[in-house]
Symmetry: C2
Subunit: 476 residues, 2 copies
Amino acid sequence: MAKLIDKITPQKENFSQWYTDIVKNAKLVEYGPTKGMLILRPYGYAIWENIQKELDPEFKKLGVENVYFPLLIPESLFMKEVEHVEGFAPEVAMVTQVGNKVLEERLFIRPTSEVLMANFFEKEVKSYRDLPLLYNQWVNVMRWEKTTRPFLRTSEFLWQEGHTLHNNSQEAQEFTLKILKVYETFMRDVLRLPVVVGQKTEHEKFAGAQTTYTLETLMPDGQALQVGTSHYFGDNFAKAYNIRFQNQNSAWEYAYGTSWGVSTRMIGALIMTHSDDYGLVLPTKIAPIQIMIIVVKNTPELLDVAQELKTKLSHYRVQIDTTDRSFGYKMSEADLKGIPLRIEVGPRDLATNSATISRRDNHEKTVLDLAKIPGVVKDLFKEYDANLMAKAEAYSTQRTSKALDLVSYQDQLVRNPGYVLVPFCGKVSCEAEVKQKTATNSRCIPLPKKKNSPVKQLCFNCGEPCDLEVYFARAY
Amino acid sequence: MAKLIDKITPQKENFSQWYTDIVKNAKLVEYGPTKGMLILRPYGYAIWENIQKELDPEFKKLGVENVYFPLLIPESLFMKEVEHVEGFAPEVAMVTQVGNKVLEERLFIRPTSEVLMANFFEKEVKSYRDLPLLYNQWVNVMRWEKTTRPFLRTSEFLWQEGHTLHNNSQEAQEFTLKILKVYETFMRDVLRLPVVVGQKTEHEKFAGAQTTYTLETLMPDGQALQVGTSHYFGDNFAKAYNIRFQNQNSAWEYAYGTSWGVSTRMIGALIMTHSDDYGLVLPTKIAPIQIMIIVVKNTPELLDVAQELKTKLSHYRVQIDTTDRSFGYKMSEADLKGIPLRIEVGPRDLATNSATISRRDNHEKTVLDLAKIPGVVKDLFKEYDANLMAKAEAYSTQRTSKALDLVSYQDQLVRNPGYVLVPFCGKVSCEAEVKQKTATNSRCIPLPKKKNSPVKQLCFNCGEPCDLEVYFARAY
């Protein structure tokens, strides 16, 4: 027997519980038997499949090819890039044994695959003509976490990791920015997430990178969430793993690398940004079911109408709820699952050849001739998606403020939690101090960087003259 | 600088080396730093992506939903189904440590996910109305192997594993056969592999299954290769993991399960079955590049013609080889990579507005008007694919023989290595004896089982009366 929908804790009452209630009740995930490792249920995994369907062709347009590299990395190989090791070693899961046999060397489950890629590139690349190599893989990775939350922080997660190698620094740098653009367009046009795109400070950049770019988005509790990154390595990994090529003058040069990734964490951002106290709200391009047709009673006449409608809407992801549950239950479930449009057909509609279309975002209802319905869906989707974005953008703008010193910064964090733009010197030691004092850190130096540097200001923490303006925030 | 194509050892000279030369030279795989774990390079992974693209929608048509379950299985959970443990424990990789911390319980990297599914089903299922659950996941799994060969046997491999749960035995049994049919159709119509479909003997069935169905295909060295399986568990896992539901009479019953899978091993079967001493031969639906256009020289006129052709053929996977290598090299490489059709355009063709189409399977060349080319591709693909299948089927038929006793069986294995159909009692002890004496075992009891049992025969090994006819063969 289908369970009744459990109550969703109102967002205002307990944000964290609201989020957990939604991911559980909408049947996106279930906890697995190992702490911090989640089961992605069909409805949750379908969202990931739709993300892949939208994003993968965009990578391929840039010439990126998909590959699969092994799960395990020998310890000795992992240890070659010192910063990388320091960044990941404490959270790496290690295979030490197979059956009853203890292995001679420990094998690390990939927390990311720079090391394996570098090891391959070293053997593969001889000449500048062998470059660029533009690889991507959609895989599981593991980074052990003490406290975990569905989608946002789990010890195992799914992601795509791109790794590219170039014969000159400029091309590699440009590639990190091309990917950043792909991500930004995807976040805005598909996920309907307003993102701040920028560069990470020295303190926050990826272990082993020269430059890390990031996409940040602001959650309804005022905390920022990093939803994508693109790294320029320069020749850091090339030097550690001896990846060299002969240039056009037959001289040997180290190659230039990038890596970039987005993960199932985006699903967390999606849920928190758009959903409400009725449940999930999903943008149309990602929703596993875009339209749910619900009949007031399962009579043959009504089901016939529903079936006809479904056929006419078959280029959308459309379903009819034919279960034997009540009309009210079905409506609540369509809300809970974040289905963008609901079409309701009852006995009275039969007489007038009409049906009611109901939008999930604002619960607006319109009664329409059946014949007209297929013609309006496209525009309704457009309005719906635009509305999700407008709401999220309004929130993000409202929650962005400025501060010139640490006291007013901390004041903003309390009064209007969100992004705070501050003048910042960019020094690692200074940021460590801010972190220690406030339990917050920088999110990014926003792009595009202003062509004319702003007037020199004083760092909000150390007071040294500086010309950077940086977003700081509490973050996931 | 592009390397010259290395020599491929002729198949007749050294079958195993021929296979290795092809997978390396066609750039399908590279060896990773851990023994037995392969890198799937772009061209190899693209084949896997095409397999997914063809197979995944067929599962979904049966109502199967994709999911993702965790990589790691706690030891205590794994140990509940005794036969399953015995089958897999010796080859399981174990995580015992994270960073510097030793774990309290060892975690097994999934060799397959029955255990995690069962643990989930136990919590999920309450009523007969909650069933069936039809799940599938496309994931990596790990089974440690001593001797490995690309695609055929590796310690980590990619596969899909389907797991279903039903409220009655008949539906579950029927589902294993539905999936078997999906696999069979796919092998025949897409991969162009002739398969023998049948049931595994007691000796050979999956650890934990009541019935195992299999698809077997015969390699050019006379060895059989299992390319897919579908298992009916009855209530074995349900009893071990306490998966019960209330039936229509409100009584508690154990549920009935199935699992089924195919893996990257199919790529090995594909390569061995169709390829030749020039390199890969790939069926059109799986070939990452279906048509390669090669110009004799990279002149603007010829490249224009090539580009125009490419545009007209854009509903196929078509490329122009615009590299600066010689015409001969490009032709050899198209052969090596198993591209079904090659279109060659030279200066003389410009005058006559024609080009040469060359088939990879039989190297037949046809000179055709440029305008006619787009119209003939569909039929050429059809003939090409039919020819691959016909060749493979002829081989398989020729290499199938019968034997009535062990001496003639062993004689057949030498004289005409392949499938040998023998009368067999089906006993585990008898098969163990055959295995010990001949280093071969049964492949399957072919389906459909004959309605009228054949006249009683005597088991080819123990001489007991029996009514089974079973395929035995050497196998991978």
